[in-house]
């Protein structure tokens, strides 16, 4: 049986007018198991977002393969997107739709059974405590509420795989904790979650396994305990710095 997410030698090269060819992601490989939170830990520009954008079919890989629930990200992009919920700071909501309309739209367009959409919308409104704001336009909501609606729209079609790309960026502590709690709940429901962050405490708290990514390469991939054993360091921050420095020396 295949893992829900399989990534093999994924590469992405951009062409930049000033810098020429830029290897944003270079031979990245990993697998995510069912019901686990897989963390991609890296500094800004490490290649986290590019990797996740390739997995969500927004970008096409230069080479390598990736499959989501058995669907190839290049040849079966729609199949991938049907099984995937993608959340990032760059995936905003339509400001002029209401909360209810937003969830309804994303459920329908992501192929959730039409006769069950209404029921699903009401369930999500109830689950995220959005009843009071169900008919308010998104543009009128507070940042915390918008973030809740964003998570609701990400799981509107009940996908098996969820990608959260730095979901707590720009949120205050309480809202960030809310997101973390939601991710924990989703894991307990059996969802496979890929979670990217540059915040060590978040990775430490949420991730079952952590991949340290730097300069487009995955430098290490293990459980927190495994990483501690390998490096003989206790704090994730120290582990991360150790790998990044070793990676830079190798380069």
């Amino acid at each position: 049986m295949h893992a829900p997410v399989v990534v093999r030698n994924l590469r992405k090269i951009f062409y930049d007018e000033g810098r020429g060819e830029v290897k944003a992601v270079d031979s990245v490989s990993f697998e995510c198991n069912e019901g686990e939170v897989f963390g991609l830990l890296g500094a800004n520009g490490a290649g986290k977002t590019t990797t996740l954008r390739m997995l969500s079919t927004i970008l096409t890989p230069t080479s390598g393969t990736a499959t989501i629930m058995g669907h190839d990200v290049v040849s079966s992009a729609q199949g991938v997107r049907k099984n995937l919920g993608f959340y990032s700071a760059t995936t905003a909501l339509y400001p002029r739709l209401t909360t209810r309309e937003t969830i309804d739209f994303f459920a329908r367009i992501n192929q959730y059974p039409a006769d069950l959409v209404e029921q699903r919308v009401e369930y999500l409104i109830d689950r995220f405590g959005l009843a009071k704001y169900a008919d308010a336009r998104i543009e009128k909501l507070s940042s915390g509420m918008k973030q809740k609606v964003s998570v609701a729209r990400t799981i509107a079609h009940n996908p098996s795989i969820l990608i959260f790309d730095e979901p707590t960026v720009g949120l205050d502590v309480l809202n960030a904790l809310d997101v973390q709690e939601t991710i924990s709940e989703l894991r307990s429901e059996g969802k496979t979650i890929i979670f990217s962050t540059h915040i060590m405490s978040e990775a430490q708290r949420l991730c079952d396994r952590i991949a340290i990514i730097h300069g487009g390469h995955i430098l290490a991939c293990d459980t927190l305990a495994g990483l501690r054993d390998t490096t003989q360091q206790h704090y994730l921050e120290d582990i991360f710095v150790l790998y990044v420095k070793a990676g830079q020396e190798t380069v």
Partner: protein, 418 residues
């Protein structure tokens, strides 16, 4: 292509648009309210100006009036819009604008003239409105006095009015109502402007606006094809463009029928023939599809609303230029003109309003416009295959994009000739 997805995406776009103040104003309210507002303003202005003119009194000096024509002087005195003044130097006063006109009796030019015959001269200043008005008022008064005077003289000679007026002019208008209507020519011009205005904001909103709001990436991660997303957006922009044009036409027809026609004695030329509807409708649909395609291709290169506006502006102007063709007097809708996009639809609609149908030219027009729409969509499909364009990371407009990709392709072909 999945029509169910297109429908969901399309209604999402429409719903958002109908909640946007700029789009509602430009695509719905402006087309409806523009003409009634313009007409109301024009008529209020005309009424105000003519009312002002009526109240202004003309300062006229009567110079050397013979005793035999004292009645004329009394008529001037009895007119409330005229003030008779006396000046020691009327010519200077006329130049200084303290006097509006001088009426004087001069000896008749004819050598057969009798003692009672007369001639008058009105001196005025053409450059001043008040002076022109005074000339007109004095002229009307003298003409009326002259007619009565001649009639009296004729009666004295034993001539009846019929015998006296043995030369008359009888006017008869042989043109059809449609031909005389200049208003019908104006309709298609405003129609194309409104189609463009109606499509402009939706085109920017659905492309550059989505990038600016970061919703572009959200829709790109949904489980539908990119082609479906683009088709839905395209249909949405075309709908808004068509709606603006249609509402505008409706408002114009309504204004002409209810406001203008009564003012012109219920002139039927101010009403659009119902038989022209199919041709007008087809023209409007084709034009809306063309406008939507052109505007979306350009606006989708923009990364924010402002950039979108500046990228669309040249296309907007290019749309208006062919409309100038209609201003040429006597221009006919020939097959050659039918080859010019936009102008051909304008001519087709203009003729249809006048009840004229050049079927060969109409056929060519439909073929040309359809080809333009297909070509524009083909370009759009080629453009969306480029990742940097889709992601909004490309910096530059359509022209630069085409030039760069063309150069890259040539470079590759040169390296790998096989």
């Amino acid at each position: 292509m999945n029509f169910k997805d297109i429908r969901v995406l399309y209604w999402r776009e429409i719903r958002s648009a109908l909640r946007d103040r700029t789009i509602v104003t430009n695509s719905i309210l402006l087309p409806i309210l523009l003409y009634p507002t313009i007409m109301w303003l024009v008529y209020t202005g005309i009424t105000f100006v003519s009312g002002q003119n009526e109240e202004l009194k003309s300062r006229i000096m009567l110079k050397e009036i013979p005793a035999a024509h004292e009645i004329l002087k009394k008529e001037f005195e009895g007119d409330k819009s005229i003030v008779l003044v006396h000046s020691p130097d009327p010519a200077a006063d006329l130049r200084n604008a303290t006097l509006d006109a001088i009426v004087e009796f001069v000896p008749p030019k004819s050598i057969q003239a009798t003692d009672n015959d007369f001639a008058t001269r009105i001196s005025y200043d053409e450059s001043r409105d008040a002076s022109n008005r005074a000339r007109s008022r004095a002229g009307q008064k003298i003409s009326r006095y002259r007619e009565n005077y001649l009639e009296r003289q004729a009666l004295k000679l034993g001539l009846t009015r019929a015998q006296f007026q043995n030369f008359s002019i009888d006017e008869r208008d042989v043109s059809t109502g449609r031909e005389v209507s200049a208003f019908v020519i104006v309709l298609p011009i405003f129609f194309i402007i409104m189609l463009a205005v109606g499509g402009m904001h939706p085109a920017i909103d659905s492309t550059a606006g989505e990038r600016e709001n970061s919703t572009w990436e959200t829709v790109m991660t949904t489980a539908t094809s990119r082609a479906n997303v683009l088709v839905a957006k395209y249909l949405y922009v075309a709908t808004m463009s068509f709606t603006a044009g249609f509402l505008n036409l409706f408002a114009m027809i309504f204004c002409m029928g209810t406001l203008l026609a009564p003012l012109f004695g219920n002139n039927s030329s101010l009403r659009i023939p119902i038989q022209s509807s199919p041709v007008v409708l087809i023209g409007a649909v084709l034009l809306a599809l063309f406008v939507a395609a052109g505007m979306m291709i350009l606006a989708s290169f923009a990364r924010n609303y402002k950039e979108g506006q500046s990228m669309i502006s040249p296309f907007y102007i290019a749309l208006i230029v062919p409309v100038m063709f209609l201003q040429t007097p006597g221009l006919e809708f020939t097959p050659r003109i039918a080859l010019i996009p936009v102008a051909n639809v304008m001519m087709m609609i203009r003729d249809a309003f006048q009840g004229v149908y050049h079927w060969r030219s109409i056929g060519i027009t439909l073929a040309v416009e359809t080809a333009c729409v297909v070509l524009a969509l083909r370009v759009a499909m080629l453009v969306i295959q480029h990742e940097d364009f889709m992601m909004g990371s490309y910096s530059g407009g359509f022209g630069k994009f085409v030039k760069e990709r063309w150069a890259t392709k040539r470079h590759k072909d040169h390296k790998n000739p096989l």
